[in-house]
Symmetry: C2
Subunit: 251 residues, 2 copies
């Protein structure tokens, strides 16, 4: 599998294209429904482009990186070729009936087109329609990253929920801290050393084993003082509910 | 202010003692109510020790690093000397009537006696009974860290609440993610690259401006799917409440 077509020209397609080219894969064509976007990415990758799915060249693999909603429509216009999509939320079902070798090639990361990205530590979550095809996909992913795992649809869905807690919700905790500090004319930056220490503990420990703080100690005096000290009812509620959850976790 | 007495032999006293000694301050004596602990820390600092507060030598500054509950009792046995405590939760009131120069010297960090610690980036939160004395305390703190701020009692209390959100509660989000992944035989480590990226964004951005995910996009379909996909009622509730809070934040 050396000759690859990219269907899509967004963040994922862009970073995958660059990483694959750097790993000596040949990107033979880029498709985008917008000819300008197809051209822009094709220029970056020094290859051909089209905005017509009936004009795809022959290749060893087609990587479909379009919006979840568009995948099914795009697939209906592509003739049988080894093919993957890059979505965490869509199963293998979407391919069925039309393709012999199909799979998922899902990089777990928030991509941003304008920022250079080193893919070498990004987890790639792989699923193939057969063990043989899955092995071929793993081989490609291992050229891009040290972090390659096979994963089924149920696992990918759960991983997405877990990522919401670990990234979006932890970031909201930082955001609430920022607001609390602002009320007393303090800058969020003062918390950065403590946050970095919290994260660096995770390198060698599971989060549960390194929990600290009043809820972990079930220190009801401090918890009550804190809840009384918070102005907004919604933030009081969150403090109370997350503390209860910590207390339960460490019972 | 060159000659310092440490009252206390716990995590904070130990790390402050080492950092002060490394910055060419002279620790003239260590007190602990346990003579063994006093001796242990005194040996580390190559100085004298006692378990009797009436036997304190004369010094330029006494640093009281004992449990919050014990501060008041300890202070009642010390004769008027320039003095600070290291607690985030106790105000200047505790000194009043008995001391001429007093203050707070509060390092914002989770200390662990057994682990070497570089104090150079730890925020030191300083409050003094007078501007002149505060300046002297700032001068000492600046020998230990680049990150020195003056802060009153109200600000320190709020900082503590903010730190609970930013550290304890974000860690609980990681812990919930760990449990969710375990249900589907996935390891928490797969999330580490994404978590590190989330944190590295905070170096140059406020948390609110770098929020991502379904709640930020107000993507009610995905939010509903996720809530349906979570087994435990308590975790469903947290997902729902934190998502609402994110949606409100970005309205």
């Amino acid at each position: 599998m050396k000759n690859i077509i990219l269907v899509g020209s967004g963040n994922v397609a862009t970073h995958l294209g660059i990483a694959l080219k750097n790993s000596n894969y040949s990107i033979v064509q880029v498709y985008s429904r917008s000819i300008e976007n197809a051209k822009k990415l094709a220029n970056k990758l020094n290859t051909e482009f089209t905005n017509d799915l009936t004009q795809l060249k022959s290749a060893d693999l087609i990587i479909v990186s379009v919006n979840d909603d568009a995948i099914s429509n795009v697939l209906s216009q592509i003739k049988d070729t080894a093919i993957v999509h890059t979505s965490g939320s869509i199963g293998l079902n979407v391919f069925k009936g039309n393709f012999s070798n199909f799979g998922v090639f899902y990089p777990l990361q928030t991509f941003n087109k304008e920022v250079d990205l080193d893919t070498s530590e990004i987890p790639f979550c792989i699923e193939g329609s057969s063990l043989v095809f899955e092995k071929q996909l793993i081989k490609i992913a291992k050229k891009l990253s040290v972090n390659v795992v096979t994963m089924n649809y149920e696992q990918r869905k759960q991983l997405h929920i877990a990522a919401v807690f670990a990234c979006n919700f932890s970031n909201q905790m930082f955001s609430i801290a920022e607001d609390l500090l602002k009320e007393k004319n303090l800058d969020f930056e003062i918390l950065l050393p403590l946050i970095k220490q919290t994260i660096s503990k995770l390198e060698n420990n599971k989060p549960k084993t390194v929990q600290t703080g009043p809820a972990k100690r079930n220190d009801t005096n401090v918890i009550e003082q804190h809840i009384n000290g918070i102005k907004k009812q919604e933030i009081k509620d969150l403090y109370q509910k997350i503390s209860s959850n910590i207390i339960k976790t460490h019972e």
